[in-house]
């Protein structure tokens, strides 16, 4: 991406994982983060917050990560915001499925708190075309 990554909207239903991710993204990574507890909250927040990047947990009750992204895409200003999924399901065909949905990449769970921000920056910097694999 041409512009630097600053603002991230993250959706994660587990409180403890949100807490670790906040430390990893804000303190370690220096990003500005808006944390959402579920997909519905993200749909409310996104059009106003207009982040540089969506970071989405996949398996969530109610609205899963994939459905959340599909609904986010329909909102004003959110159609082309890059997205990264976070999931333990990272077999090749699963990752290809996420990329086919337009994600710029997948972060495997459990993530390394000290390395998360760097991994996200790498995906960001290498995705000149949305959906391109590295």
């Amino acid at each position: 991406m041409a512009q630097p990554l600053k603002r991230i909207l993250m959706v994660e239903d587990e409180p403890d994982i949100r807490a670790v991710a906040l430390l990893a993204l804000e303190r370690v990574g220096g990003f500005e983060v808006r944390m959402c507890e579920n997909g519905f909250e993200a749909l409310e927040v996104a059009p106003e917050y207009l982040p540089d990047l969506f970071l989405l947990d996949v398996m969530m009750p109610g609205l899963d990560g994939v459905s959340t992204l599909q609904k986010l895409r329909l909102l004003e200003g959110c159609a082309t915001i890059p997205a990264i999924f976070m999931t333990a399901k990272v077999q090749r065909h699963e990752v290809e499925g996420y990329l086919a949905l337009g994600a710029i990449g997948v972060i495997p769970k459990p993530f390394n708190p000290m390395g998360l921000a760097g991994d996200i920056r790498d995906l960001w910097n290498h995705s000149s075309v949305v959906g391109e694999t590295r």
Partner: protein
């Protein structure tokens, strides 16, 4: 704040999260047992699935590596059509792990 201070602060914050998870394990164990008993009585699987997914995901993220490893096969089994006897073994493994949880690995 210099890098050493930041690292010390992070280490402290991560440790706090791990301690908090540890302190909640008895509660999580009881909740898991409750869900399991309901499923055994013919109730729906969804709540149990959610509990196991949460244990596996949160535990492994917080450095409880063994818990993550032991909960993973149960999580998978709950999505598939497996024999009840297999399910019982996997469930008991998780329950046992929750009775004597490991010391988590450092997140730093």
């Amino acid at each position: 704040m210099n890098d050493d201070d930041l690292e010390a602060l992070l280490a402290l914050e991560m440790k706090k999260l791990q301690d908090h998870f540890l302190s909640e394990i008895p509660h999580r164990r009881a909740a898991l047992e409750g869900c399991w008993n309901e499923v055994m009585a013919g109730g729906p699987l969804e709540e149990l699935r959610q509990q196991v997914h949460s244990l596996r995901g949160t535990g492994s993220t917080l450095g409880f590596v063994r818990l993550g490893e032991i909960a993973t096969p149960l999580e998978h089994a709950l999505k598939e059509d497996v024999e009840r006897s297999t399910l019982v073994v996997l469930y008991k493994n998780v329950l046992e792990e929750l009775s004597s949880p490991e010391t988590p690995k450092s997140l730093m």
